[in-house]
């Protein structure tokens, strides 16, 4: 009961507050821009050479205002927007009119979530294990080697890294496909063949993101572990002759994991925004590509939809980790 009142409820409140504030900002920012989307649309149509009489333009303006949610006073627009947000309705997309935004997001989301959750989680896991071992055995030669390798890999921009991988495996060796999410001509299904196809297409983007992700996690984990090794309880445990295995896993890694778990929650939340550049390099049909197209075509509804999904995603993951955190760190319990 204490847990619910002093831990759960405050966090739920802050969860909804974060989403509410985020969504409000999503609503305000496009309205601060000097571009009038309705006028822009009409301009696009008229520059194409179509003649429209003033009455038709009037009608079009009204329809567009409806579609953009621009009818009424700012306050009314805001209430309408909130109401539609709760229903998951962001209006129609403009670059693929009249497909609704929610449908576009629903189509892209599984690709992105599938690809990024696997790469984020795996690189976090592998990076932490390697970094933990590296930090613990920092005097060994192989640990230095591993650490230096990570140091060389980390500053490479990942689009360069992705391009190099693409060139090597897709162009010269020709063993992996260059672009797309699955072979053209196959229909998505739950057959073994399709899954194998999926993995084959996902391999290069995964590899490019994971290599860099592992290097980053490894370095931060190694630093945390080295700091923890200097803590009094490690020195004392060593003096007490605690076995090395226990020392590494129960004393060093368990304590070093605490900040890393928060890091995982943050990066897991970010996957809803997609990996913009990676997806473009590999022409992967995910949220990143969608966002890119939306920005290019000035598709306000779509941008707002994707941003709203990201906000909910990040906030949800932080909430989950917040609720799970007492399991990892007893000091957080009930306070």
């Amino acid at each position: 009961m204490n847990f619910v009142r002093r831990y759960l409820i405050p966090r739920l409140i802050s969860y909804f507050l974060v989403i509410f504030v985020g969504i409000t900002i999503v609503f305000i920012v496009p309205r601060l821009s000097p571009i009038d989307p309705v006028q822009q649309m009409i301009n696009t149509i008229t520059t194409m050479g179509t003649y429209m009489d003033p009455q038709a333009i009037e009608k079009l303006t009204e329809t567009l205002k409806d579609l953009y949610g621009l009818r009424g006073s700012l306050w009314q627009q805001y209430l309408n927007f909130l109401g539609r947000f709760i229903k998951g309705d962001f209006g129609p997309s403009f670059f693929r009119f009249p497909v609704p935004v929610s449908k576009l997001i629903a189509d892209s989301l599984p690709w992105t979530v599938g690809l990024l959750s696997v790469s984020t989680f795996l690189s976090w896991l592998i990076g932490n294990i390697l970094g933990g071992i590296c930090g613990f055995f920092y005097q060994k030669k192989w640990a230095r080697f591993l650490e230096n390798t990570a140091m060389v890999i980390r500053p490479i921009p990942y689009y360069i890294f992705a391009l190099i991988l693409l060139l090597i495996f897709g162009y010269f060796l020709k063993i992996l496909p260059i672009a797309g999410g699955f072979s053209i001509g196959t229909t998505p299904s739950f057959s073994l063949r399709f899954i194998a196809d999926l993995v084959k297409y996902a391999l290069l983007p995964l590899l490019s993101m994971m290599t860099l992700g592992i290097a980053v996690t490894l370095q931060s984990m190694r630093l945390i572990v080295q700091n923890i090794l200097r803590e009094d309880f490690i020195v004392f445990a060593k003096a007490g002759g605690v076995k090395n295995r226990t020392l590494l896993f129960k004393y060093v890694i368990r304590n070093a994991m605490l900040p890393q778990i928060t890091g995982l929650a943050l990066s897991m939340g970010q996957i809803f925004g997609g990996a913009l550049i990676t997806e473009i390099v590999f022409s992967y049909p995910g949220m990143g590509t969608l966002l890119y197209n939306a920005i290019n075509t000035g598709d306000y509804n779509l941008i707002m939809g994707i941003t709203a999904i990201s906000i909910v995603g990040i906030a949800t993951f932080i909430l989950i980790i917040d609720l799970l955190y007492p399991l990892f760190d007893p000091r957080i319990r009930y306070r």
Binding site: Q139, E231, D232, F233, V235, F236, A237, K238, A239, G240, G241, V242, K243, T246, K250, Y251, R254, N255, L258, F328, D329, P330, R331
Partner: protein, 330 residues
């Protein structure tokens, strides 16, 4: 009969700062013998190498600290073994069973994410077999009861205990396997006076009950007066005087010890206390000859040139000062 002895122990911190080597002579030729079931106190000002000395005596030498010369012997089953020639695994086994270590009290002395009892089994379990562990479970509660600790502290997390409580748990942890020697490195420093008394009394009662040897490091002369049997005074990496506690307090020989004893407040005495002139010497660049000579009122010409030998000038009273013996340390 000594149970632990060191011979000409030298251990320096070797630091490499921007390619320039710095050598800090933290322990510089210490020879001491600790008798069985006595409480041997080591006193001295901050930065004189007390903590480093006990670390070396315990065999905890990790870079940047390195052993330069000398040896440490533990007497086990009637014969002296040199700890630096022991394989690492042997030394690990010796710890807690034969010699244990109580560190300075601090917030983070126990793993913060596991319960006290888990810490206990991590420490104890590393030295006993599984069968023994089951038998010990009961005696652990008995032991806690004997030390006046409620058994529910075993199921608490370290952050739920007060500083004094935590330090008493540490004392319990370090003495549970009944080690022959307990090294206590400033066990009471971070505590308030009431908690200090609790910890000191606990240590003392354990010692009189189990008859172990304690090497107690603290700069608190009051603590030494209460429980130490013999005291070694350390100055700049060396032990400069060693005698029975009463002897040190009543008849200090070395000028540094004299300053130390004179500075202690006494009830009813309102006279002005004189502190040692000057500042503690840098261990990276210590003075020549007797390291105390720049601060000493009695300094003679030979003090600047030669190091006085640590000799017995009265029965069981050793001192390294040219005022009492002209023997020179080679």
């Amino acid at each position: 009969m000594p149970i632990l002895k060191s011979e000409n122990l030298k251990s320096f911190y070797i630091l490499d700062i921007y390619g320039k080597k710095h050598v800090i002579q933290a322990v510089n030729g210490v020879s001491l013998e600790v008798e069985e079931s006595e409480i041997y106190g080591i006193a001295g000002e901050s930065g004189c190498g007390k903590s480093t000395l006990v670390r070396v005596l315990y065999g905890m030498i990790e870079p940047p600290l390195s052993l330069i010369d000398g040896n440490v012997f533990y007497k086990r089953n009637g014969e002296f073994i040199s700890i630096f020639t022991l394989p690492e695994e042997e030394l690990r086994k010796l710890r807690w069973e034969f010699i244990s270590y109580i560190p300075q009290g601090s917030m983070n002395i126990l793993n913060p994410v596991i319960k006290i009892i888990d810490s206990f089994w991590d420490f104890i379990g590393a030295h006993i077999s599984k069968d023994e562990k089951e038998k010990m479970e009961h005696s652990l509660f008995e032991f806690f009861k004997m030390l006046g600790l409620p058994s529910k502290t075993l199921y608490a997390y370290p952050h739920q205990l007060s500083g004094g409580m935590r330090q008493r748990v540490i004392v319990a942890l370090a003495t549970f396997l009944n080690p022959k020697i307990i090294i206590a490195d400033e066990p009471t420093t971070a505590l308030d006076v009431v908690a200090q008394r609790g910890v000191i009394q606990l240590l003392k009662s354990i010692q009189s009950f189990l008859n172990n040897t304690i090497i107690l490091v603290t700069h608190d002369m009051g603590v030494h007066a209460t429980i130490s049997d013999r005291i070694g005074i350390m100055y700049a990496g060396n032990i400069i005087e060693e005698a029975k506690t009463e002897e040190i307090y009543e008849d200090p020989l070395h000028p540094y010890t004299q300053y130390l004893i004179k500075s202690l407040p006494k009830i009813g005495d309102k006279s002005y206390k004189v502190s040692v002139p000057g500042t503690p010497p840098s261990l990276a660049n210590p003075p020549s000859g007797c390291k105390f000579h720049p601060r000493c009122n009695y300094a003679m010409e030979e003090c600047k040139l030669y190091v006085p030998k640590f000799v017995e000038v009265k029965p069981k009273h050793k001192v390294a000062c040219f005022l009492y013996s002209k023997e020179v340390d080679s």
